[in-house]
């Protein structure tokens, strides 16, 4: 009986298998259903010169697609975004090459970005604004593949600091993410400011973060952002900007509000009304502080345009740094780790990279760079 059961089962299995296979045997793959897409650039196209520039300098060289005509499916649909302005796209295309790709080619060799560079750069005209928090995303690096640059329509080519903040800074920041997503950085970096990160409220922080050892408030949000921000600031900040950052990092900060108050403003100077130390101190923004140096080198600080009841200038004092953290030292430690990591992991001299960027930042002529596109025939 059992044998018969097995026999019947086997018979069934063979029959079904045979029929199933036979039913599929005539399914042959036909030609592709997708139409051939002609990738040839049309010389009559309004965007031919830019398209040609992008093909030669990004696609052919780095296998990188530079998207300036915004496909919104490439963006987060939860945000309201608009495309980039065409002329601004031209400027960013040539600046990306000059201040980023050409720099790495020179410092790290031509194969470096071919291997590790992003495969997509996406330009977006507006920021990604979170309506709830009011925060703005100005750059994104996704999976080591794509870098999105936002606020392209707000760029002011004659405002170097804005260009640096929105684009060059963002480029190096996002590329740092791509690099550390490929080869992780030493975990030692994460220990320097451990316990001082604030992922939820970093946007409410100001210059006081420098005293805690961060280059920017965003850097104080989490380890990885701190790492990318440290590298980006180190590369793009001019000597003046970097020295200023170190100066801020050496300062002490205090607020008259509660430390728990998200809107609390931190100051690094204070004074006493009427120069009377018996009165309650008042914090003052550094923009209202005048520094006067005597002939003998003595430095005095005063509250701008204000005098006490006797007509004397009101003396301003530095807030004493009580956080127990040497902000400057912390930042320099982070830079050193990044420097070492660049050397060990990537065989790149970070200082040379910075030097090359600084030279190019200080000397580029946008009209000259635009010729790379406009001169294309």
């Amino acid at each position: 009986m059992k044998k018969i059961k097995y026999f019947i089962s086997a018979l069934l299995l063979v029959a079904v298998t045979a029929m199933t296979f036979s039913s599929c045997s005539e399914d042959k793959l036909g030609p592709t259903i997708f139409p051939d897409v002609d990738e040839t650039l049309d010389p009559n196209s309004y965007t031919y010169k830019l398209d040609k520039f992008l093909k030669v300098n990004y696609l052919d060289k780095y296998n990188l697609t530079f998207l300036y005509k915004m496909p919104d499916i490439s963006t987060n649909m939860n945000y309201n975004l608009v495309p980039a302005e065409y002329n601004n796209a031209i400027d960013l295309a040539v600046l990306c090459k000059h201040l980023w790709f050409d720099v790495y080619d020179k410092v790290a060799g031509e194969d470096f970005l071919k291997t590790y560079g992003p495969r997509i750069i996406l330009l977006i005209g507006s920021p990604a604004i979170n309506p709830n928090s009011g925060s703005e995303i100005v750059g994104l690096a996704e999976g080591g593949i794509k870098i999105s640059l936002f606020k392209v329509n707000s760029m002011n080519i004659s405002d170097f600091e804005q260009m640096n903040e929105l684009y060059f800074h963002t480029m190096h920041h996002e590329f740092s993410h791509i690099l550390h997503q490929t080869k992780t950085y030493p975990t030692e970096f994460n220990t320097i400011s451990v316990g001082r990160y604030d992922a939820n409220n970093w946007q409410y922080r100001g210059n006081e973060v420098t005293s805690l050892g961060f280059v920017t408030p965003y850097g104080s949000s989490e380890y990885r952002e701190d790492f990318a921000e440290t590298i980006a600031c180190f590369i793009v900040y001019t000597d003046t900007q970097w020295n200023r950052l170190m100066e801020l990092a050496r300062r002490g900060y205090a607020t008259s509000a509660s430390d728990d108050d998200l809107d609390a403003v931190y100051y690094s100077y204070y004074y006493y009304p009427d120069n009377d130390a018996e009165q309650d101190l008042v914090y003052v923004d550094e923009r209202f502080v005048v520094v006067v140096t005597d002939e003998d080198g003595t430095v005095h600080k005063y509250w701008r345009n204000n005098r006490d009841k006797d007509g004397n200038r009101i003396v301003v004092y530095d807030v004493i740094d009580k956080d127990g953290i040497n902000g400057e030292e912390a930042i320099l430690q982070k830079v050193q780790i990044a420097r070492q990591w660049f050397r060990d992991a990537w065989n790149i001299d970070l200082d040379s990279l910075r030097s090359e960027v600084q030279t190019r930042q200080a000397t580029y002529d946008i009209n000259q760079l635009r010729l790379m596109v406009s001169d294309i025939q």
Partner: protein, 453 residues
């Protein structure tokens, strides 16, 4: 044993049937080509449609359901560029941020376009055009939805106007493209415009059309349905129409609907249904009224001309250059008589409700140096029908009238003539009749509303 054979036999039959069924290749094809090929074909067809015959189109654009619609002219080129022209207050704010106001301004800029394959063919404006993408920008809207600097300003950061710049192409029919905003889903249409049209002239005409429809001095107009029921329309000048059934409670029943004023008429953003009649698109008629082209019956007008003329709400001023017959002659005589009397000049002639006398009154404002005399006669309006009116004169006049009567008799004669004729009324527009012509044979006068009481 037998049981197992039966099961096996049944199973074999079932599987054989199923397997053979799966082999049949005779499934009826709904479409001749596969989806990708059809989509590519549609993409090419729409590019051709958009760029042919000069490639100029009018887009009736709606950013959201709380704002009016805005007309844009778009000229699509085969090189991938598009010239976008518009005329609205937001363009004014972009070009003159410090002079924020509600006056519309013209703007034109070139950007890029394409028909891409998405969930169907999609018309995308994929590079920024400052005069068009302003409705999709996520920044805070200056002055809020009114664009007025002194308005209550909400923070729209992250949303902006919430407008679309990509549009699913739903269908093409009769030189009209039916679009649906890809993100917000609002329906819009694009209609072909002659390539010879000058963008600035066209947009000026659209703005003039908007001004002719609704007038702040005519605070309510009516949708006249085929069943002889009227629905009251308020706030017409804002293009956010407040609509409620005549006789119904305004506060509890009124609904707001946003409209767009185009080169030819007015359209609601979506069809609306009033008393079972569904209406959306209206075409301007020669008499200034609007006729619904969906049913060819429903109209939009103001009150009857005779009711407006007889209304105590308006102050009318005589257009002294638009007189005919006896009125032209009498006015000339009045000017001469008052000059001869005491070197006075005629400032203006006003027809308005006099609250003291509780009657309509015609007043001749006569100025001598710094003093203005106001000889006045009282006229009671009698509405005869929708377009005819007659005035009854009280021949007494006020004290000033009496003092002028002997030396300037033409003043009284003017009023007397008004009280003796039956006037046929005609207006610049049945929707905004702010300029009224009163005619009796060869005699006529033109009165203009100068203010509301």
């Amino acid at each position: 044993m037998k049981k197992y054979f039966n099961i096996a036999a049944l199973a074999l039959v079932a599987f054989t049937a199923l397997s053979l069924g799966s082999c049949t290749n005779e499934i009826d094809e709904i479409f001749d080509e596969d989806a990708v090929a059809r989509l590519a074909k549609a993409q090419a067809e729409y590019v051709d449609i958009l760029t042919s015959n000069g490639g100029k189109w009018q887009l009736e654009y709606f950013a959201n359901s709380d704002e009016p619609g805005y007309v844009y002219l778009m000229t699509f080129s085969t090189d991938g560029s598009v010239v976008v022209s518009g005329m609205n207050k937001w363009i004014n704010i972009i070009d003159n941020p410090s002079a924020m106001g509600s006056a519309p301004a013209f703007g034109t800029a070139t950007s890029l376009w394409d028909v891409i394959v998405d969930n169907g063919p999609v018309l995308t404006f994929n590079s920024y055009n400052k005069y068009f993408h302003l409705f999709a920008d996520p920044y805070d809207v200056p002055g809020g939805s009114t664009g007025q600097v002194d308005s209550e300003d909400e923070n729209e950061s992250g949303y902006g106007h919430s407008g679309d710049y990509e549009f699913c192409i739903m269908k093409y029919s009769g030189d009209t493209l039916y679009l649906s905003g890809k993100k917000r889903g609002l329906n819009m249409i694009m209609t072909r415009v002659a390539s010879t049209v000058d963008d600035r002239v066209y947009m000026n005409e659209v703005t003039a059309m908007a001004d002719s429809f609704f007038h702040a001095k005519i605070p309510q107009v009516y949708i006249n349905l085929p069943n002889d029921v009227r629905w009251i329309v308020k706030n017409g000048a804002t293009s956010i129409l407040k609509i409620f059934r005549e006789g119904a409670d305004e506060i509890s029943t009124a609904e707001n609907y946003n409209v767009i004023i185009t080169h030819d008429g007015l359209s609601f953003m979506s069809p609306i249904t009033l008393d079972g009649y569904t209406i959306q698109n209206f075409t301007r008629q020669a008499d200034g009224s609007l006729l619904c082209r969906d049913d060819n019956q429903t109209t939009m007008t103001a009150d009857d001309l005779s009711d407006i003329m007889a209304s105590p709400r308006f102050v009318w001023k005589l257009s002294q250059g638009d007189l005919g017959g006896v009125y032209a002659q009498l006015l000339t005589q009045i000017v001469n008589e008052i000059k001869a009397y005491n070197s006075s000049t005629l400032q203006d002639v006003v027809l308005a409700y006099n609250t003291t006398a509780q009657s309509m009154a015609i007043t001749f404002n006569v100025k001598r140096r710094t003093v203005t005399y106001k000889p006045t006669y009282y006229l009671t309006p009698n509405v005869i029908d929708e377009t005819h009116i007659k005035f009854t004169l009280n021949p007494e006049g006020d004290s000033w009238a009496k003092s002028f009567e002997a030396q300037c008799p033409s003043i009284k004669e003017f009023a007397t003539n008004m009280g003796s004729m039956t006037f046929e009324l005609s207006a610049n527009s049945l929707l905004a009749p702010v300029v009224m012509k009163l005619t009796d044979g060869s005699n006529f006068m033109v009165w203009k509303i100068s203010e509301m009481i």
